[in-house]
């Protein structure tokens, strides 16, 4: 019985040795000058050669990327717009506010300032007040969505800092706006 076992072992070792001998690591073939993948992986290789381009993969991270930085997210939109002399939120912008509201609820460490603006028509003091009311409307809407009022500061620039410099309806519409600014 012992002799049998040893024989089997020796035979196995011999088979193994033969099998193993064919699995040496070959040096990789030399990288072609234009950096394309080499078609024939079994071609003989030079003893020292530059490496082929290595594809990088990213390990999935434990923390997700901040959606605030995602240009495709609704959160990338930081402005809501208003009709002339009005401070009501239109339907298009409600979804923008809902996105910011959700984000703020999920990130209690973040706070914002909302800045209201007006177009160039009309008096400066009245427009300062109207800008403030626009900012305050946004704040109230975010509070309804669950964000504590203490995390939302409001201010107004009136008509003093127009983003669009023209004197037509397109410019005016761009300037009738409240901006959400993350602190």
């Amino acid at each position: 019985m012992n002799t049998m076992r040893v024989s089997i072992l020796i035979a196995a070792a011999a088979i193994f040795a033969v099998a193993c001998s064919s699995t040496d690591l070959k040096p990789p073939p030399p990288a072609p000058a234009n950096n394309q993948p080499v078609p024939n992986q079994n071609a003989p290789a030079a003893p020292t050669s530059p490496t082929a381009p290595i594809k990088t993969i990213e390990a999935p991270s434990a923390t997700p990327i901040d959606p605030l930085s995602d240009p495709k997210s609704l959160l990338a939109r930081r402005s809501v717009y208003f009709a002339f002399d009005q401070s009501g939120i239109n339907d298009t912008d409600i979804s923008v506010l809902e996105a910011h509201g959700r984000y703020l609820v999920d990130h209690p460490d973040r706070s914002i300032r909302v800045e209201g603006n007006c177009d160039e028509r009309g008096g400066r003091e009245y427009n300062l007040a109207l800008g403030q009311r626009r900012a305050e409307t946004v704040r109230q809407r975010l509070m309804v969505l669950g964000v504590a009022g203490t995390r939302i500061e409001t201010s107004s620039l009136g008509k003093e800092k127009p983003r669009a410099q023209g004197h037509d309806e397109a410019s005016w519409a761009e300037n009738r706006r409240a901006d959400i600014i993350y602190k």
Binding site: G123, E125, L128, A129, G158, E160
Partner: protein, 451 residues
């Protein structure tokens, strides 16, 4: 850069008969006009800026006056007669009769019949004499060619630097002698110039725009300057700390204090006529409301209690009321309430947008900006008759401010994309435009009489 005032002013053979000069035809002073005149007058100032004044309308009743070149003994840096002519012209109430180029000295015997036949109802002549100490003696006389006699005369002694101010004083005297109303040529105006998106200046200039001096230079916007009744101080809103804060700023010393820096927005400062109270607009309680505060910062009191926007407070001349803008009825309109708070009374009913109320010094006329079909124009409302009148021909008007004699309104507007100041008589007839060369001029406020 403080300029000394007149050192001495003595009446000289003054015949203060206070005869109210009225035209021979007997028409009321501000009847309907037919003629328009266009004149452009340039004034070089000591600073770099130079205001251009363009007359675009004249008063219905114009008093024809000849202001002769003053006789000058010694070199004078100021064309006193020229400044007088420009002042009287800018008021819209005087038409200049060509005096010829010859200087006429103050104690000359002049041929009043000859002047009458040339169309001049009044004639002003004068002399500048340089004294040994470098100051000037200025003497002037005013004659009435209809009455055939002198009706006014004054003498001043002043340093050369004050000659322009002497000219304004003489123009004030002529204006009052002829119209019965005090002149405002010696007063000052304050306004904001924006030179670039990051360069704003609060400036104070003579009423004709000459001699602008900068009280505040800032990278951020400045709005709503307001004069204290004694002319020493300006209150204004500055955004220099990235929020709106109300300052009170002593012009002579440059010292200032942030009087209202509450959470939220601080704006709309207005002095009470006794100078002891400041009305303000604060959003500390959530939306724009009007408050009053003692000038030392104590005694803050909330005056309006409405979820609407309440803004732009303006005291009545007796201090009893505050006029203000509120959109409690849906759109902005002018209201009036007791200056201690209380239920407001609505004043404007035309159109859906009326803002920026200012009350005349006699308390009888309300000026404001009305929007009518997308045009923003200065309106005046006679509080006795409730008649409203549009008084400008420009269409992007802001910030009306009354002259201290109540006869003119200065305001800001936009012509050809440029911010300029413009003047109108309270009846809308006599008009002028003032523009600075480099920036947009806005937010004017007319200072008080200089005592």
């Amino acid at each position: 850069m403080n300029r000394k005032w007149l050192t001495k002013c003595t009446p000289y053979n003054r015949l203060r008969t206070m005869s109210h000069f009225s035209s021979r035809s007997g028409l009321p002073a501000f009847a309907l006009a037919l003629a328009l005149a266009c004149l452009t007058l340039l004034f070089a100032s000591r600073a770099n800026a130079q205001m251009t004044i363009q007359i675009t309308g004249v008063g219905s009743q114009q008093f024809p006056i000849a202001v002769a070149n003053f006789r000058v003994d010694g070199e004078a840096s100021e064309d006193v007669a020229g400044v007088i002519r420009a002042d009287l012209t800018r008021s819209g109430l005087f038409r200049m009769i060509d005096p010829g180029t010859q200087a006429i000295e103050e104690n000359a015997r002049i041929n009043l019949d000859d002047w009458k036949s040339r169309g001049a109802d009044t004639i002003a002549i004068g002399t500048l004499t340089k004294l040994a100490d470098g100051r000037f003696e200025v003497r002037y006389r005013l004659f009435d060619s209809v009455k055939g006699k002198q009706i006014d005369g004054l003498a001043f002694t002043a340093p050369a630097a004050d000659l322009r101010r002497v000219a304004h004083r003489i123009a004030d005297h002529i204006y009052e002698t002829v119209t019965g109303v005090p002149g405002v040529f010696s007063t000052r105006i304050a306004y904001v110039v924006q030179y670039s998106p990051n360069h704003y200046e609060l400036q104070v200039a003579d009423a004709d725009g000459a001699n602008p001096q900068t009280a505040l230079k800032s990278r951020e916007f400045i709005i709503s300057p307001a004069w204290s009744p004694d002319g020493s101080t300006l209150a204004y809103v500055s955004f220099e700390s990235r929020r709106t804060v109300v300052y009170v700023h002593n012009l002579a010393t440059g010292q200032r204090k942030a009087l209202a820096s509450f959470p939220g927005s601080n704006s709309g400062p207005a002095f009470s006529p006794d100078g002891r109270t400041l009305a303000l607009v604060l959003t500390r309680d959530g939306n724009s409301e009007i408050y009053s505060m003692s000038i030392d910062g104590s005694n803050l009191k909330r005056l309006t209690h409405d979820p609407a926007i309440d803004t732009e407070p303006c005291f009545s001349p007796d201090g009893a009321y505050i006029y203000f803008t509120s959109d409690r009825s849906g759109g902005p309109q002018i209201y009036r309430m007791s200056s201690s708070g209380g239920s407001p009374q609505r004043m404007t009913f035309n159109g859906d947008y009326n803002i920026s109320p200012r009350i005349s010094p006699d308390g009888r006329t309300l000026a404001y900006v009305g929007r009518r079909s997308d045009l923003f124009q200065i309106e005046v409302l006679d509080l006795t008759t409730s008649q409203e009148l549009t008084v400008t021909d420009t269409v992007k008007d802001e910030s009306p401010t009354f002259a201290p004699n109540g006869r003119q309104i200065l305001y800001a507007t936009d012509v050809g994309g440029k911010g300029i100041l413009a003047l109108t008589s309270t009846d809308g007839r006599a008009r002028a435009r003032l523009s600075g060369p480099n920036g947009d001029v806005r937010e004017p406020t007319w200072g008080p009489y200089i005592k």
